[in-house]
């Protein structure tokens, strides 16, 4: 696949428009490098999620919180029915709730990833750049937070601080900034004595400027890869917390809380548990596939870390 374009480029070298052809060949290769099944499939799923989440108010057939007890626990009526995927015990439309749930998952995951990224990369870069006592203090903190089993700290935070969007985001960020921090610290440690950093320092650049302009740009690709996996784990954890009743307040529809309802009615109404779970599974699968594909291209060094979760 790649060899044919190489041959084309090689033949082109002899003809007058060699440069143009070579450029086209190179662009083609660059595009093809990105067109891996993992990226197409994963990216497709993620795009669908974004699409559904953003457009939820316009494409949802019903108000996600509109109750209609006369229509409670209707099984799926499939494509041509009123309630395509059925209704829940309060007569709310499952499909509409799934659409809005996508929105909630997406907003929470994106916020968690962004905040974790800023905190983690910031602390990691500072830690690695200054080394010494600063590094020791930050790394001790990392060690303590890392000592908690992953979901447990989030559960504890939600248990003590109570339900709510801000607490939920705090609980999810609490452990997700660490993977950014580790990578950023490692990079900063190895970069701090490189010539271009020394040169910037010799020219009188401030620490803040060196970190922002010379260290951070080198971390971008790793951060994209870590962020993708962090997003998958944030979505699973958010669903797990909502499932346990420790997520956002009950009036906001989320996949996790829908699943918790589904569990109660498992023996009579299978559709309540099936659809939200499928949504979580495919979303996380899509993000993991995308992350895997991105990692192969952007940052093959991360490959050995194995899992995407955590």
């Amino acid at each position: 696949m790649r060899s044919s374009s190489d041959v084309a480029a090689g033949l082109g070298a002899a003809s007058p428009s060699a440069a143009a052809r070579r450029r086209a060949g190179r662009a083609g290769r660059a595009i093809r490098a990105w067109l891996k099944p993992k990226i197409i499939l994963g990216g497709g799923i993620v795009l669908t999620l974004v699409f559904v989440g953003v457009l939820a108010p316009w494409i949802a057939p019903f108000d996600p919180n509109a109750q209609n007890l006369a229509m409670a626990l209707k099984p799926p009526e499939w494509l041509f029915g009123v309630h395509v995927l059925g209704t829940d015990p309060l007569g709310r439309d499952i499909l509409s709730r799934l659409f809005y749930g996508a929105r909630v998952s997406l907003v929470i995951a994106v916020m968690v990833v962004l905040i974790s990224g800023v905190v983690g990369i910031g602390l990691g870069a500072v830690s690695g750049y200054f080394a010494g006592a600063t590094d020791f203090a930050i790394q001790k903190f990392v060690e303590v937070v890392w000592a908690f089993p992953p979901l447990l700290l989030a559960i504890a935070i939600m248990a003590f601080l109570g339900q709510g969007l801000d607490n939920l985001i705090l609980a999810l960020v609490m452990q997700r900034w660490i993977s950014y921090c580790r990578v950023a610290r490692g990079q900063a440690l190895s970069l701090r004595h490189r010539e271009f950093v020394e040169a910037a320092r010799a020219l009188g650049a401030s620490h803040a400027r060196i970190i922002l302009r010379h260290i951070l740009p080198n971390l971008f690709q790793s951060a994209v890869v870590i962020g993708t996996f962090a997003m998958a784990s944030a979505i699973i954890s958010e669903a797990a917390l909502s499932f346990l009743g420790l997520g956002v307040p009950p009036e906001i529809p989320t996949w996790g809380s829908m699943l918790a309802d589904g569990r109660t009615y498992i023996s009579t109404s299978w559709w309540l548990a099936l659809f939200p779970g499928l949504c979580i599974f495919f979303t996380v699968l899509g993000i993991n596939l995308l992350g895997d594909g991105l990692r192969d291209i952007l940052d093959p060094r991360l490959k050995r870390s194995g899992s995407g979760i955590g």
Partner: protein, 335 residues
Amino acid sequence: MIAYLFRRVAGTVPVILLISLLVFLLIHAAPGDPAALLLSDEASPQDIADARHRWGLDQPIYVQYLRFLLNVLRGNFGTSFRYSDPVIRLIGERVPATIELALVSLAIAIALGIPLGVWAGAKPNSWADNLGSFFGFFGISMPSFWFAIMLILVVSGYFHWLPSSGRSTYGISHGTASDFYIFQSLAEGDFRAAWDGIRHIIMPAIALGTNMMGIIMRVTRSSVLEVMHEDYVRTARAKGVGERTLLWRHVLRNALVPIITVVGLELGTLLSGSIIVETVFAWPGSGSLLISAIESRDYPLITGTVLTYTIAFVVINFTIDILYAMIDPRIRFEK
């Protein structure tokens, strides 16, 4: 080795102290007055003031922390509001069920994950690799709580093959809730009870182990892939070692180090996964204890469970590190 051990213990103690500090701060970050929260709604202001004094909540915060720490060190996590029993005893009764579940899940994850990974890594891009990688992605993307519900729906609800909740059938089991049922029944030769225990543990263990299986498969695959290119593999092949022996004796043994590392790291995920899976299957372990404690706002029990889980995790990681240093002398001499 002794010096290394000392260094590691010296490094772990401050971490445990800081963990207790973090948990302590969390308790105090809870909205509202802890005394008012802990007493019933009918408590008068006088009762609350008495309780504040009794629990030392009127003392400065560092005094409170030192008291908390001393109690934790003595294994005294206080008394559960709901059960009026010492927290440490309640947790102790539930721990064997959690350990049993975790061990069986881990066994399933290893028994499936490693062969799938070796199989996939030995022949990259073959159909075996694609199938194995599919299982890997399936495992890491599957939310355990949903998988658990689907298992109950299909295996218990539709086919009636396995019981959907609990650890044993009333009347078949003897012994108390705080036993390792399966192991104990086997040891006593009561195969009917052991079989009953096994039937109960299959679904929770699969639900809990799937994620770990996916992770182990993926790490095994990449680790095998890497080892396959080593010189000694080529040498072994050149001297005529059979493909199967090569794979399982030469390749896997060298690929094991990263696999063990990841298994150790992911034990925390397994532990926290057990909290959810236990809740779904009404498994009487410490995880479902934590969730019911949260539901009834039983703060001493929540604190005790969280600390127990975390300290157990720290001890597990510590043990793994020591094992490593015993296996691989190079680790002992790093910085």
